[in-house]
Amino acid sequence: MKPEDRPFIPIRPLPAGVDDPGRRRFLHLMAASLALAGAGCSGPPPEHILPYVKMPEGVLPGQPAFYATTLVRQGYGQGVLVESNLGRPTKVEGNPLHPASRGATDVFSQAALLQFWDPDRSQAPWQGGQLASWPEADATLLDWGAALARDGGAGLRILTGTMTSATWLDQWRSLGKRFPGARWHRYDPLHDDGALRAAELAFRRPVDMLLHLERARVVVSLDADFLGQGPAAVAHARDFAATRSDPARPTRLYALEVVPGLPGANADERLGLPPPRLEALVWRLAARLGVDGAESLAPDSGTAAWEEALAAALRAHRGESLLVAGPTLSPPTRALVHVLNQELGNLGRTVDLIAPVEFEPGSHGDSLAALCEDMREGRVDTLLILGGNPVYDAPGGLDFAAALAGVPRTVHAGLYRDETARRCAWHLPLAHDLERWGDARGFDGTVSLVQPLIRPLYGARSPREILAMLGAEERESDYDALRRVVGGRLPGRGENPEAAWQRCLQEGQVAGSASAPLRLPAAARPRPPDFGPRLLTAVFLPDAAVDDGAFANNAWLQELPRPLTKLTWDNAALLAPATARALGLENGDEVELSAAGHRVRAPVWVLPGQAEETVGIPLGYGRRDAGRVGNGVGFDGYRLRSGAGVTAPVGLKPTGGRHDFACTQAGDSMEGRPLARHATAAEAQAGKAGPHRKEPRDSLYPAYSYPDYAWAMAIDLNACIGCGACTIACQAENNIPVVGREEVMKGRQMHWIRVDRYRTEAGAVLFQPVPCMHCENAPCEAVCPVGATVHDSEGLNVQVYNRCIGTRYCSNNCPYKVRRFNFLQYADNDEESLKAGRNPEVTVRRRGVMEKCNYCLQRITRARLAAEKEGRSISDGEVVTACEAVCPTRAIVFGNLNDPASRVNRAKASPLDYALLEELNTRPRTTYRIRITNPDPALGGNGKGGGGGE
């Protein structure tokens, strides 16, 4: 063959064994399949309309109703308003009146909705691996109760988590009359036992601390994650952000951390230190501040500058400073922190001490150990586990499961048929907070009411109803008990008690029931502890997404990128870069951790800023019976605990294995571009931090006119703490599907608002929430061949799902990468309970369709219709997007640019306001306010804080 005869594209013969379809046959098949495809289409199936038989009062089909209730996590309540659409709970919002919410929520309250609708929830009683029924369970427990009553319930033990419910206490006391021998044990795997012990040392009585961050100008966090963990995190975040918004009153947060958390990421100065050095620093700091008892410690050259700077800052801000110590510090050191706060005049100003909110406060570790001891000694014949999952989350050193096996009569009541349920004689489904009456107290003692929005989906019962099955008392309904116990003790205001009660129900709380601050004598000087040898130390911490493991089966949370690592669907053994280098490890290397007689294989993640010689171990993973989402995700850190302490010496040995992570943001560099901008307070005061906005350059495209509204958003990077609540709230509001681990690894996560995390060269962390920018010159609009992404008359770039054919041109042309494509059928259209939990105001997208943030168009529409019906315009603050509503720090502001007085216009008028990738002239409607840090000049003034533990 001559070269010119050869075809341009070489034709290769088919490999042997493959049937050559032939051109004609190919055409035949194509034509037939085309015809079939057309014939397969059909219109919607006939539908029925089912009206009410008896229309309930106050229900308006098609309009959501909101009910105030309380979501209880680890015993403490967060007040929420839950949206109900025709009786189905569809969205959780914060309760503005509740001190633990103040209108915002954490990620867990948002995800509680998916937990409620989770098809893996326990749906029926089980007896020894067999399905059983409630009447059988009733009969069995009644028998047991009768048998127990004969010897006063000497063998009866009840295990719960932290309890703050007054109706529970009432029931427990009346139970005690029939079963005087019964014992109540409490165990939450991450209960802060050390805080109570420290209070005993300092004040000879247990106390809870109430932080008033808004009054503090110098805050020193001693490995205390007050922004990310605990029942007060949302309130703390709000107060903390408020202090940073006022440039005339500069504040400074010093964070000393072991494993990096949100305070360190948001600190003006941070330092990573292993626990022994951190504790020693506190004692030397105390000596510098004139607290006796700590002079004899040898100096630490690495932290001397910090001690001096801290001492100077604290001395200069007596009564306006605050020290907070976290659970990795030993009780004596935490007692010393009480002394320091008192010496500095902070007590009663920046921190209040209140009587513990938890009933019968005490060490949960000791309580569980005592229960295990009793079980082993055969002193327990009946054990009721109400909530909780001790077979999974008890310390590995206790071997709870083996002790449990020796108890003849065991009952587990829980939301899931989990590890503990499968090892108990009986498992009973426990009612979710959205389907029961009850009460709990907020972190400050506020009595909060749990109000059902729906009847139990699966006939589950509340803890109170389950305890009553022992037949110890008359069957009083949960509501009656609540009315009697809480409603009978309302603070008297001289009003009709029924009206007062109704108002409490409407508000979801008993107003004015917060605990009063205690007046305590001077704190006792603790003795210095033994700081311990410098060994490789494991630090056990709750996971930012699955908490202690209770949310392991929650797909929204599993897919939420963890704030600092941006890992999804996994936990990892977190190592400092220097430690990893010394051990020759890098991201994804597998190691074997050994402690408490157990060995666990775990992949390594190198976390900049972590203290050397420590291994951070997020708990809550490695579940075996969590459900189809949570089973087998990550490794189980509880095995490595010998007791309830949060630190323990640990052995580490590389295995040579590898693990692939599903990480949504691998790099943390901005590659020299000013994406998440930041400046120091000194620069801002000198006028060097702005203005950032430039006049938009000319554009070839004609300008749009917006006669009515022009929606826009402003995001304050100075307020954002990176918690990720916006991501989950958006997911709940907009029916955003989860994609799973494999798809995340391909970069196909669907979040409409992501939180980017960067690290500056100095090691400081910057968070940047990125929703759709709603550009005036939107690159996506120009390239859509079918007009599925269009500019509307109010400036939104709207995505029209019914037009989209999935070319993905728009996504390729979007410089912000905020468009998400349904590569597969991600939305689950089969699971009935998941369908019921969706927002009926938002289309559920199909495979092959592009989607993205639309500024909560459904909420704009709701406000527009309300305004149009009343013949007025939408006022400022009437449209609140889901991300804005949930944000604990109010970092997000949404509103109308055409209203000169709107909050969003005020935010954008600041010289610190800037547009992301402004040089592209896309003219985004979403803009940012730069982050202002206030580094300490005494520490070099660069926010680096002496090396960040590297």
Binding site: V53, V798, L865
Partner: protein, 215 residues
């Protein structure tokens, strides 16, 4: 010289004629298959042969007596069994036709009415704003007062919606006429202009934005 035989030319010509016919047939078949289950103008059997002609035309009952949420919500609302019983506990209470009603009361189960107006799930229609802005019931639902059995009056296709959204003037009625049983003819001239102004009808651009109905 003839390249193709006469036969071949004939086949080609017939083929060319057949092509548009085939295409037309295919489109017709598709439209038939994809249409809403109940064609406009065709009455649909219901559990109770409810007559709007009798209730609205003869008795003069206001639309809102049964469709209670039409002014407040996106859904006009179908009457609960109890609403039917306000009259039918006394009138015709033992009529065989009303057996499903009595059954519903006894069992507490709703009456399963056949849906006539089924919009795609990506369309977010709201009754309350339409009636507030002067779109009378009859504009979309037709002469309900003359329907012994109810049928769908409009095609409910997007073209049909847009016809009004592009030029609403001739479909609007003064607030007093919105729920009127008999269809009133639209206003004309200056009265129409005054009505448009008093109702604060949004611009055509806004009314035809995708985001007005789709989200």
């Amino acid at each position: 010289m003839q390249v193709f035989s006469r036969r071949a030319v004939l086949i080609v010509k017939l083929g060319l004629i057949a092509l548009p016919l085939l295409a037309a047939t295919a489109i017709a078949v598709y439209r038939w298959r994809a249409a809403l289950p109940n064609a406009p103008g065709a009455a649909v059997p219901q559990p109770i042969p409810f007559s709007h002609k009798h209730h609205v035309g003869d008795d003069g009952i206001d639309c809102r007596y049964c469709h209670t949420t039409v002014e407040k919500s996106r859904s006009a609302g179908l009457p609960s069994t109890e609403i039917c019983l306000t009259c039918h506990s006394q009138l015709y209470n033992d009529a065989p036709l009303l057996a499903p009603l009595r059954e519903s009361v006894a069992s507490g189960r709703p009456i399963p009415w056949q849906r006539l107006h089924d919009l795609p799930d990506f369309v977010y229609f709201d009754h309350s704003i339409h009636v507030r802005k002067g779109v009378s019931c009859g504009e979309c639902h037709g002469p309900v007062d003359q329907m012994p059995l109810t049928w769908r009056h409009a095609s409910l296709e997007m073209q049909w919606c847009l016809a009004c959204h592009r030029d609403p003037a001739e479909h609007l009625h003064p607030p007093g006429d919105v729920f009127s049983a008999s269809q009133k003819s639209p206003l004309s001239g200056p009265a129409r202009q005054a009505l448009m102004a008093s109702l604060h009808i949004q611009s055509t651009r806004r009314l035809t934005d995708c985001s007005t109905c789709h989200r």
